[in-house]
């Protein structure tokens, strides 16, 4: 290169002003973007806030310890204990199946699978199943578990149908969380003589925990809120009084057993709203909705908390 210093840089001439007019358009665009984006964020918060506020006001005077801890009643306000219990029960049961399978599937997709026909088929299936309407998944569960397998309406049938419905999302989110772990971390571990599995177990998964927790939370939200899948699988009848001291896991009446019908809070709200006749119908629906929202929020916070603890445990044990 033969460039001399004189030919480098801008030519000599009047210095450009810091207040150039030509930049006004871009300043306006910048401000407009700020306002629009800020406004969009505010709108999301507003929607969430007004939903919460609406049900908080509607449920005022309805939700009380006795509402949460009593059985439903046709003649008085009663309570929602069995259906709330079923919601939590279904959540745990579904997560026990969906989280391990989803995370292992994500590990396979992110760490082991190459880009080939099989993985594109899996990705296609993930997307296809995710976009199937949940009522169809419910019908599928009805045919497969309730009728063909002769299980009848059971919590297990509901949980398996929910797993079908949620596994693709769980797998996809796990894969994304694991892929987001920088390659440097894997190289560092492998270069220290760790095996591939040790690297996944001790570096990749711990670093992906926050992302994995997001997957769990999104899936859990869908389990809590899902009604259509459960209508035909876990049943829709008003549950009987539960005897929580009956720990027989095979019993058709024990609240701990997966082999019993399990109407959840969401299904209960749907049922009351569409066919409920009781005098307190509206209050019960509002109260149930408020409890449902609170439970979801509590679960999200709890999951984040557990995520923090897990990350700390796994990265510094």
């Amino acid at each position: 290169m033969t460039a001399t210093s004189g030919s480098i840089g801008r030519p000599m001439g009047p210095k450009p002003s810091l207040r150039r007019k030509s930049s006004r358009g871009s300043i306006l665009a910048d401000r407009a973007a700020t306002v629009v984006l800020w406004g969009t964020g505010a709108l999301v918060l507003l929607i969430l806030g007004s939903i919460i506020l609406h049900f908080a006001l509607a449920a005022w005077g309805v939700v009380s310890p006795s509402f949460i801890l009593s059985d439903p009643s046709e003649t008085t306000l009663g309570g929602i204990l069995p259906v709330l219990w079923n919601s939590i029960y279904m959540l745990v049961l579904t997560m026990l199946i969906a989280v391990p399978v989803g995370v292992l599937g994500g590990i396979y997709m992110s760490e082991y699978a190459g880009e080939n026909v099989v993985t594109s088929a899996i990705r296609f299936a993930e997307e296809a199943i995710s976009s199937v309407p949940s009522i169809v998944v419910g019908l599928f569960g009805l045919i497969l578990f309730v009728d063909d397998a002769h299980w009848g309406f059971t919590a297990l049938a509901g949980a398996l149908a929910l797993t079908f419905f949620n596994l693709p999302l769980m797998t996809r989110l796990s894969e994304q969380a694991l892929r987001a772990v920088p390659q440097d971390e894997r190289s560092a571990s492998l270069a220290l003589g760790a095996t591939k599995w040790q690297t996944i177990r001790h570096v990749v998964v711990p670093l992906a925990i926050p992302g994995l927790i997001t997957g769990v939370i999104l899936t859990a939200g869908r389990v809590f809120g899902e009604a259509a899948v459960l209508l035909f699988t876990a049943g829709i009848g008003t549950p009987p009084h539960y005897n929580f001291t009956n720990f027989d896991l095979l019993s058709p009446v024990s609240p701990w057993s997966p082999f019993r019908p399990a109407t959840t809070l969401s299904v209960y709200i749907y049922k009351l709203n569409s066919e409920g006749l009781g005098a307190f119908k509206n209050q019960i629906v509002d109260g149930s909705a408020a409890v449902l929202i609170s439970t979801v929020l509590l679960f999200n916070l709890g999951a984040r908390g557990i995520g923090h603890i897990l990350t700390r445990r796994l990265t510094a044990s």
Partner: protein, 288 residues
């Protein structure tokens, strides 16, 4: 202004070549056995040749510097010593790379075992987001070392060797490796490698992301480590190569952009009386 005046002063003058006759004698006394040898090593990414036909030997307990312009395949070549090229899809290595006379390219060689004997320090300091203690204990733990007292001892020895112990001994378990400064992080990465008790340490521009003071500390450390380890270092910094290495290998690119070895020799000679015109042009700043 005449064209030549725009060139920087020849770098040679500012390089303090430590390998005097006394240095060469010391080097000869320190090392005689061959630790690594490569025989016509070529590395391809798909069809593209990244490194062509490199044959050289590296003596035990010495520092070899690989220098040369960007794209000359130094780092790619470095990564064949611990088979990190295996991780790059489409990369293939031809030829022989021998560690203590054993070809590491053989299919029945355990890369896990190889990487325990041939450690690596990367360009960007990359401690795990774990405590300082856990960073150093990572390698030993993966080999099944869980004895608390042994780990304590190993972590302390490794951090002392990496000249980091005094700066971190008070919050080994509380402080994350990522909370350290860049230079400290790189010394932590060196300690992490030392804890796996390697024989060879590969360093891929270990100081290029560090400030000059941290760089000097790493260089001091390298000079101490060569008493016990065989070190291969890739560097863009010729002063660094001149300051720390016993032997320097100069790489450049051919017409087809494949990297190749131009010449290799005692650092003192390479920097004062190179055999090749290309080497002389590069070290005097006329190229690269």
């Amino acid at each position: 202004m005449p064209t030549t005046a725009t060139y920087p002063e020849p770098v040679l003058r500012s390089i303090e070549v430590t390998t005097s006759q006394a240095g060469a004698d010391e080097f000869a006394a320190r090392t005689q056995d061959i630790k690594i040898s490569t025989d016509r090593v070529s590395i391809l990414y798909g069809e593209k040749v990244a490194v062509r036909d490199v044959s050289l030997t590296i003596q035990e307990r010495s520092i070899m510097a690989l220098i040369g312009p960007s794209g000359s395949g130094k780092s790619t070549f470095l990564r064949c010593f611990n088979r990190m090229n295996d991780l790059i899809p489409g990369a293939s290595v031809k030829g022989e790379v021998c560690l203590d006379g054993e070809n590491v390219m053989e299919t029945d060689v355990s890369v896990v075992e190889l990487r325990r004997r041939v450690g690596m320090v990367f360009q960007r300091p990359n401690p795990f987001p774990m405590s300082i203690f856990e960073n150093v204990a990572y390698g030993p733990r993966r080999r099944g070392q869980n004895d608390r007292r042994k780990l304590d001892e190993l972590v302390e020895t490794s951090l002392r060797r990496a000249a980091l112990w005094h700066e971190v001994k008070d919050d080994l378990r509380r402080k994350s490796g990522l909370a350290l400064s860049g230079g400290q992080q790189q010394r932590l990465c060196i300690a992490r490698v030392l804890a796996t008790d390697p024989e060879v340490i590969l360093m891929d521009e270990p100081a290029s992301a560090l400030d000059p003071v941290s760089t000097l500390r790493i260089e001091e450390l390298l000079r101490e480590l060569r008493e016990a380890y065989t070190i291969v270092i890739v560097t863009h910094n010729m002063q660094q190569a001149a300051r720390v290495s016993d032997v320097t290998a100069f790489f450049t690119m051919a017409e087809d952009r494949a990297g190749y070895l131009v010449e290799v020799g005692p650092t003192g000679r390479i920097f004062t009386r190179p055999n090749e015109r290309l080497t002389e042009d590069y070290i005097s700043g006329r190229f690269g």
